[in-house]
Structures are given as C-alpha cells and as structure tokens.
C-alpha cells in the first residue's frame, strides 16, 4: 500500500536527515553531561565514607533499575510539582535532563568499574614509594583506567543513540519523531523501516570505530 520505502526516502530525506541530526545531538548532549555528572557519582561510589558511598550506590541503582520512558514522564510531568524550580524548564529540557541523569548512572558504573579494574598492587606499590593518594590516582591509576573507560563510554554513546528514540514520545525532533511527522501524510509503515535502517547503519559504523579505538588502546599492552 502506498509509496515504496525508496520513494519515501527520496522525497522526504531532509526530514530523516534532520531527525538523525537531532538524535546524534541529543545523544551527544546526554553522554557529555552524563559523563561529567557520572564522574562525580563514581567518586561518591568509591568514597570510604559509608553514607556518601550509599548515596552513590542508590543513585545508580534507581536510575538503572527503572525504565527511561518512566523517568522521562516523571521528569517532565512530576518533577515540577515536587520542585517548582523545574517549572522554568521547557519540555525539551525536561526530557534532556532525564537522558542526562540516566546516562550519568551508566557512566558512573563504567568509571567505577574502570578504576577498580586496575590491580590494587599498583596502588600499594605507588604508595610504598611515597606517592600521595592524589598523585597515585592521577599519575598511576587513571591513565590505566582510561583504557577500559574510553571504549565503554563510546559504547554508552551508541546505546544512547537508541535510547533517545523514546524522546519521540514527547515529540522532540529526532529520528523516531519522523514517523509522527510522516504519518500525518498518511505514510505509516515506510518511515519505520527507514528509521530502523538509519539506526542500524549509524550504530554499525560507530561500533566499527569503537573497535578500532580498542585496538589502538591495546597497542601498549604488547
């Protein structure tokens, strides 16, 4: 029924292009701010103070243990009720906020995992040579942790590209939203396949880049 996938793609490619730009933009913003926030949260998780540590652990568990779509609805509809300051946020900002918070929980786990994966013997050696705890972290632990952290962060970006499709429920201009746009021209099934194809191509290309990055980072192991 109706036009073929190719006809739709050719006729409406600017719409899909704009949707793709939106998707990449939202994913980039979410992962960038998510990384900044996630780094702080991972510090909480690694803290020796039990209360601070608990806050970090609870934060990560709540955000990773509830669906992102639910988080979006809560951040858009209910946060403003609880904290009037969020009334100043637009719909786009509310949805982005939930993407950032969600991403930060995953990034916190990535960073925490990266740091704890560095053998404890490294710390012991550095400290016994008289390095301060801060110096040990910056000069010994982090440079090694970054090798496991970077590829995982890139994978988080790829995952986030798919997660942003939920923002289509709030009519933000990203790939999934093109479906709503074209449905009003009575094109209901073609956009689904086009969108799936675009997601697949983008994630495959990015995955290939990530494995290149992994190989590059592994060179020093040899």
């Amino acid at each position: 029924m109706g036009a073929s996938i190719f006809e739709v793609l050719i006729k409406y490619y600017p719409i899909f292009l704009k949707g793709l730009v939106g998707t990449l933009k939202y994913a980039a913003i979410a992962v960038f701010f998510g990384t900044v926030l996630g780094a702080l949260i991972s510090l909480l998780q690694l803290s020796k103070n039990k209360i601070i540590k608990a806050i970090g652990v609870i934060y990560v568990n709540v955000l990773r243990g509830t669906p992102l779509l639910v988080q979006m609805y809560i951040s858009y509809l209910f946060l403003p009720m609880a904290f009037p300051i969020f009334n100043a946020f637009t719909k786009e900002q509310c949805v982005l906020l939930s993407l950032i918070l969600n991403s930060s929980a995953y990034v916190a786990e990535i960073i925490r995992g990266g740091i704890t994966s560095v053998d404890i013997g490294q710390t012991e050696a550095a400290r016994s040579l008289g390095m301060s705890a801060k110096n040990t972290m910056i000069k010994i632990i982090l440079p090694q942790a970054i090798r496991t952290i970077l590829p995982s962060l890139a994978n988080e970006y790829i995952a986030m590209i798919k997660e942003t499709s939920l923002a289509g429920s709030f009519m933000l201009y990203e790939l999934m939203y093109t479906r709503t746009l074209l449905a009003n021209k009575y094109l209901v099934w073609q956009p689904l396949f086009i969108v799936a194809g675009i997601y697949l191509i983008v994630t495959m290309v990015l995955s290939a880049l990530v494995s290149k990055l992994e190989k590059r980072l592994a060179i020093s192991d040899k």
Binding site: M1, G2, A3, S4, I5, F6, E7, V8, Y12, P14, I15, K18, Y73, Y76, L77, F78, P80, M81, N87, T90, K91, S169, F170, M171, Y173, Y177, R179, T180, L181, L182, A183, N184, K185, Y186, L187, V188, W189, L192, F193, G197, L200, I201, M204, V205, A208
Partner: protein, 319 residues
C-alpha cells in the same frame, strides 16, 4: 571495514527487493470532490488572527499566573490532522486547535507555547500544572466534565460529527450494522472518544467483541495492515482520509454503508472542547468568550479550512 560494507550493501539490496513498487503513488491526499481552499492560507491566518474583547481586570488563579509569566502553554497530541499535526518540514505543530490556542493567547496578550506529547500525557500535563490548557480534539464525556473545567464546544460548519469504523476493503461486505462486529477485534486510541463509543456500543452490547487500545493511531493503521485486528474506530473525516490514501486497501463504513456510532446518547456532544484544571473558572470564562466569538463570527470555520489546506485533508471528502 570491508565486511561492514558488504553487509550494508546486502541490507540495501534487501530493502530494495522487499518493496516492489508497481508505480509511483502520490501519497498526498487526493482532492476528490474538487474542494478548493479559498482562504488566505494557514501561516497568513496565524499571523493575522485578531483577539476577543474580554475583561481581564478580575483575573485570578491560573489566569493570573498566565498573565504574569506572559506565556500560555497548551498540551496537544499532534497525530490528528487537521486539528493538530506537525509540519513535516519544520516539525512545528499546526492545526485548527493551534489557531484557536493562538487566538486565546492573543486575547490574553501573551505568547503561545505549544507542547506536543502523546495523547495519554496531554490531560496529565494539565493535571500537574505543566500546561495551562489541553487542546487536542477532545470531545465531551461525563468523566471529563467531572474532573476538569471544560469549555463550550467548537466545530466548523461542515465538520459534521460522525464517528465510524475503518475496515479492510476486502471485508467490507461482512458489515451491515454495528451488530456485525460481534466477535471482532477493534482498535481505538486510548482515552479517545472512539474508545468510549466502542465500549458503550460494541464491547458492552455484542458477544466476543475485543478492543485493543493504542497510544498512537498509527500503530492501529500498522496493525490493521498486518491483519492483527479487524477494524479501527475513527471519526469519519480521518477514516475517509486514510481510506482515500490507502489505494483502496481500507474503506470507511460510514461512506460505504452509512454505519456510524450513535451519538444521540451523548446529549451534550457538540464538537470539540478545551480542558483545564478543575476550579479555574476565570480562565474558563475567557476561553469560553473566545470560542463563543469565533463560532459566532465564523472565524473558527476559517481556521478549520486553513488547517485542512495545510494538512492536505479534504473536509468535503465524506460526502
């Protein structure tokens, strides 16, 4: 990398093969019946909308809050042309309801902010105070009247309120009245009027009727195309437009057989309504004055036709 290219190429071939297209079909709705729009056009009308004369000196509650913040925020679900739909090029939400909202915003002397979201979230957004008004092609129901302040009804002259059922053309012969839907599975949009009609007039009346709710009406179209259900409940304008653009795959039972839901049991039904939080009577008063004025001077009909033109919907198609 080479492998990747091979896979991509295979994928393209797959898509190419999967969609044999006999001839180029233009998906723009066909303008049957020779309806020609004669107005100034949607954008021009939007920019030149006037305002109603209302007394705002006694504003209180949310109305006062709107005047103070300088914006009127409306929630809408843009999957219902010509009432509300996104402009495919810009993504901006347009429609007859948006023109009405703009008129209300003009009257209040504030800026209009249109927030698009799923239909189910529209009312919640008014509940939580995130939006001031819900304007999304809502019709009257007793439940809505109980929980919200609801405005006077508005509808275009030609916009006869018929609600019907869309079925695959191949099955159309089976249906001669609503009773023939016994044992059938029907889609309706969650929280819509059609959901109420299906419940009241099919689900609770005939044996074995099954209703499946969708949040987005396009899911229902996909489901019907895939044979996952037998029919979709629609208002007749939307039904006829889907029928016209489906290359004869679907037909509107109102057009083919005159089958429609009986609306006489909902006495208060008169077009669409605007919803707002319970108790906001001074806001309600202003909205009602706006609606009364544009219904009286015919501006609403002009809005409706401009929105039809902008969305490619033929308002005369159901005849």
């Amino acid at each position: 990398m080479k492998k990747l290219l091979v896979i991509l190429f295979a994928l393209l071939l797959l898509v190419g093969c999967g969609t044999k297209s006999d001839d180029v079909v233009d998906n723009e709705p066909v303008e049957e019946g020779g309806w020609v729009y004669e107005g100034v056009g949607y954008d021009a009308l939007y920019d030149s909308l006037g305002k109603a004369e209302v007394d705002l000196s006694n504003a209180d509650g949310q109305l006062a809050a709107i005047l103070e913040k300088g914006t009127l925020v409306i929630a809408t679900s843009p999957d219902y042309p010509p009432m509300e739909f996104p402009d495919a090029e810009t993504g901006a939400i347009k429609g007859a309801d948006i023109l009405l909202a703009k008129y209300i915003a003009n009257t209040l002397g504030v800026e209009l902010v249109v927030e698009g979201m799923e239909f189910g979230a529209v009312i919640t957004s008014v509940d939580t105070g995130k939006s001031d008004l819900a304007i999304s092609g809502f019709g009257y129901t007793a439940e809505r009247a109980e929980s919200y302040e609801i405005s006077h009804g508005y509808q275009a002259d030609s916009d006869a309120a018929h609600h019907t059922i869309l079925v695959p053309a191949a099955d159309a012969d089976q249906y001669n009245s609503l009773a023939d839907f016994a044992g059938k599975k029907i889609y309706a949009q969650a929280n819509s009027l059609q959901q109420m009609y299906v419940e009241d007039q099919l689900l609770n009346v005939y044996e074995g009727v099954e209703m499946e709710l969708v949040s987005d009406i396009n899911e229902a179209i996909l489901g019907l195309s895939a044979g996952k259900a037998d029919a979709i409940a629609f208002d007749s304008t939307t039904a006829i437009n889907y029928a016209n653009t489906s290359d004869g795959m679907f037909v509107s039972l109102y057009k083919e057989k005159g089958i429609e839901f009986d609306l006489s049991m909902y006495n208060d039904y008169a077009g669409n309504i605007v919803l707002m939080k319970k108790g906001e009577t001074s806001l309600l008063d202003v909205v009602n004055q706006c609606i009364d004025q544009i219904m009286e001077n015919g501006l609403y009909t002009e809005m409706y036709y401009a929105a039809c033109d902008a969305s490619g919907v033929d308002p005369t198609a159901e005849d």
